[in-house]
Amino acid sequence: MWRLNRVRYKNVGQSSKSSEELRLKRREQEKALRQARRDKQLVSKRLLLNEDEEVTMETTSGEQDVVSLLYKLQQSGSERETHLKDLSKALRDPSAQLTFIKQENSMHLLVSLLTGSNTQCRLHAVRCLHELSHSIHTNVAPACLPATPYLLTYLSGQSTKFTELCLYTLGNLIPDSDVVKEKLLAQGIIPALASCMENQRHNLAVVEAVGFTLSQLLQAKDAAEKIIPTVLTSCLPSQLLSVLTPDPKFGLAPAIECAWCLHYLACSKDGRELLAQGALLQCSSLLSSLGGAEGSKEGMELLVCPLLRCVGNLLSFCPVNSLSSQVGDVRLVVALCAFLQAYLHTQPALARESAWVLNNLTAHSGEFCSALLTFNLVPGLMQLLLFSQGINTMILRILANVAHKKKELSVQMVHLGLLSTLCSTLKMADQEMVTLSLEVLFMLVVSGPQVVDEFVRLNGVPLLEAIQYNSEGEMRQRAVYLLERHLLSDSSSACTVDNVSSS
C-alpha cells in the first residue's frame, strides 16, 4: 500500500536499477532542485500509486491508447469501467497527457464520468485526473480546471482513497499555474481543506493529504498576501498543531506534512498569530521528545527539520517575559544539542538549523543560558567551533549569548576551557569568527581579573598582537582595545620580570 507506515522509500531496493545508478539519479535531481530553489521555482508533485503497483515509468504506446480509449468511452457500454481504468494507466505517460487534453471534449467526458452515478467510474475518473495533475507539462493543469469544483466538493467525504486522490490532485494542480490557484481560492479551497481536516482528523491518510495540499498553497509566491491570512483565521492552525503527536502505528508522515505547513506559516510576517494558539509549546515539546528518543529513527529528520524552523521563527516573535511559559521545559536545549551532534556528519544543514534555534532560545533568556551549563552542554558546543559552513559562527553566538547574560556564567565557561578554544578561533581565516571571538574574549576578560592571567598563560597575547595591525578594522580595533586596556597595562613590570628571567 502506498500509505507509508513510517516514511516511504520508493525506488529503493525494489528497483532493478543498480544502487549506483540510483545514487547518480538522486545527485542529478538534487542539483536540479537546488537550482530550482534559487530560481524560486521549487515545486513538487506527488503521485498516489495504486495498491498493487510499483513505480515504473514504462508505459506502452500511451498516445495510441488515449485516442482509441477516448473513442470507446464515448460509446456508452458495459466495458466503460475497464476502458476508464486503462485510460488512467495510459495517462501516466507525459505525451499521452498532452494528447488527451488536445482531444476535443475529452475533459468534458472525464468530468461527466467523475460526477456520474457509477461510483467505480468516479474512482477511475479521479485517478485519470490525478495522473494528469502529475504532468510535467504546465499546460495540463489549466485543462483540468473544469473538474476542480467537483474535486473540492468531494472532499466532504466519500471514501479515504477517493478523498486522498482528490486532495493530491488538487495539490498537484496548485503550483503549475496562477490561474488554477486563483480559481481554487475563489472556489473555496481553504475552507474546504479546513472542514475536511476537521471531519477526518482521525483518518491519518487524509490528514497527510490535506497537509500536502495546504503546503502547496502556502508555498505560492503571493501566499503572504492572499493565502496565509485566511489560513490563520481558519481552524487549520489548531488542526495542524493537533497532528503533532505522531501515531506510532501510522508513522511520521502526517506530522511531517503538517509541520511543514506550520513552518510556512511561522516564517511569514503574520507568524506571531500562531503563538496565541500554543504553537511554540507544541512544537518544542515534540522536538524535545524526538531529541530524547533512543537512537534516531529512520526518517526522523524529515520531521525534525520543519519543527526546528517553527520553533526558531516563533521564538523570534515571542515576548521575553512569556518565553518560559511558551517554550515549556528547559530541556529543549538538551534536544537541540543532541540534534547538533547527531546530524553534524550526516545532515550538516540540520545541525546548522539546530544551532540557529539554540541561538534564538538563548538570546534573551538567562534561564536557557544557565541550562546549557546545568546540563553540561557547553563542552560539546565548544568542540563544534572547529566546523565551518556557518555552524561555528552560530555556536560562537550562542556562547556569546551566555557570556552576555551573567558574569558567573562567563566564569564557568572559562573553567570549562573556553579561553583555549578562543585561542584557536582567533586564528581562523573567517573574519566573522575572529571578530566574534574578540567580542567573547572581551566579555570574559571583564568578568574577572583571573581571566587575563589565564589568557596570558595560554599564550593568547601574541594572537592579539598579530591582529592589531590587520587591515580589517573590525578585528583590529577590538584587538588593540583588549591589548591596551586589559592585557598590556602591566607591560613595563612584566618586561622587567621577563628580562630578569632571561638574563
Binding site: 527539520c305 544543514a349 559552513q389 621577563d498
Partner: protein
C-alpha cells in the same frame, strides 16, 4: 595605513558591540536551502536513508595568519603554529626582519637599532656571543665570528655574518621592500631573509633617541611604558635594569618578545621612534 591619531580615535569609544540577536528567517533564506531541497527529494520519492551517508561532513574551519600583509591560510592548526613561530614570532619592529629566536632578536635590536649600543661599542666589548649561556662579549662582529667558529664550532660561512654589501644591493634592487609598509610580506615571510639580520653594520638612520646611561634609559622606559600602557617590551628587554623588577610583584611573563609597538607593515609608523616622540 593607520596613523597614530586615528588609533587614538578608535580607542575613544568601546569597540565592542555584541548584543544577543534573534533571527527570524523568511521562507527563502539561504539557511533553509538544504532542508528545502531535502524536503522536495522526499516529496518526489527520491528520499533514501542511505543518502545521508553520501553527505559530507562540514569541513573544518581554515586558519589564517592575521599578521598584516601576510594572508597565509592553513587547513590544520599545527601548520598555522609552524608558520607563525617560524616567521612572526621574533620580528624586529624597526626593520621587520624575522629572527629565529628571542635571544637573537634582542641582540639584533641592540646592534642594529640602538644608538646607545653604537656609542658604547666604540669603547667597550659590546658584541655578545650568540650562544645562549656563553656570556662573552667582543669588540667587533669579526671577533665574535672568530669566537663562534673557534670555540663553538660554528661553520665559517655561518649566515648571520652576511656582509653589508649583499644586503645593500638587495635593498637597492627592491627599495620598496623597506620603504613601503605593504611590502612586508616579502620581508616578514620570505624565508630567505630570516637569518640575515645580524650583520656588523649599524643603521644609524634608524637610531632612536640616545640614552646617556643604562640607568637613565631604564627610567625613560619606565616612564614611557607608564604613559603608553604598552611599553617597548622587546627593546627594554635589551636595556633594562633589574630595579623595576624588585619593586613590583612578579607579573606573568610575555613570551612574545616583539615590542608591542612592533611594526607589522601597516603599523610601521608606530615604530618606537614615532611612538616615543608623540606619546607622552
Amino acid at each position: 595605513m593607520i596613523s597614530l591619531t586615528e588609533t587614538t580615535e578608535e580607542q575613544s569609544e568601546l569597540p565592542f558591540n555584541f548584543v544577543p540577536q534573534l533571527f527570524h528567517l523568511h521562507k527563502d533564506h539561504d539557511l533553509f536551502e538544504d532542508g528545502d531541497v531535502h524536503r522536495h527529494m522526499y516529496l518526489q520519492d527520491l528520499y533514501c536513508v542511505s543518502e545521508a551517508e553520501d553527505k559530507s561532513t562540514p569541513s573544518i574551519s581554515q586558519f589564517a595568519c592575521h599578521i598584516s600583509g601576510c594572508s597565509a591560510v592553513f587547513s590544520v592548526l599545527e601548520e598555522y603554529e609552524h608558520h607563525y613561530n617560524s616567521l612572526h614570532r621574533h620580528v624586529c619592529c624597526s626593520c621587520r626582519r624575522s629572527l629565529p629566536s628571542a635571544r637573537l632578536l634582542d641582540v639584533h635590536i641592540q646592534e642594529w637599532h640602538d644608538s646607545l649600543f653604537t656609542i658604547l661599542a666604540q669603547t667597550q666589548d659590546m658584541y655578545q656571543c650568540l650562544v645562549e649561556g656563553c656570556g662573552q662579549k667582543f669588540r667587533t662582529n669579526k671577533d665574535r665570528k672568530d669566537h663562534l667558529v673557534m670555540i663553538h664550532k660554528y661553520p665559517p660561512d655561518f649566515r648571520f655574518d652576511k656582509p653589508k654589501k649583499d644586503r645593500r644591493t638587495h635593498e637597492t634592487k627592491k627599495p620598496q621592500q623597506i620603504e613601503t609598509a605593504m611590502e612586508v610580506v616579502d620581508d616578514t615571510c620570505g624565508s630567505e631573509r630570516v637569518h640575515d639580520g645580524l650583520s656588523d653594520q649599524q643603521e644609524l638612520g634608524e637610531s632612536m633617541e640616545t640614552h646617556v646611561s643604562e640607568e637613565e634609559a631604564a627610567q625613560n622606559y619606565a616612564a614611557a611604558a607608564a604613559a603608553a600602557a604598552g611599553g617597548d617590551a622587546g627593546l627594554s628587554a635589551a636595556l633594562h635594569s633589574n630595579k623595576h623588577a624588585n619593586s613590583e610583584m612578579p607579573k606573568p611573563q610575555y613570551s612574545y618578545r616583539v615590542p608591542t609597538t612592533v611594526c607589522f607593515g601597516h603599523g610601521s609608523v608606530r615604530g618606537f621612534r614615532g611612538r616615543r616622540g608623540r606619546r607622552k
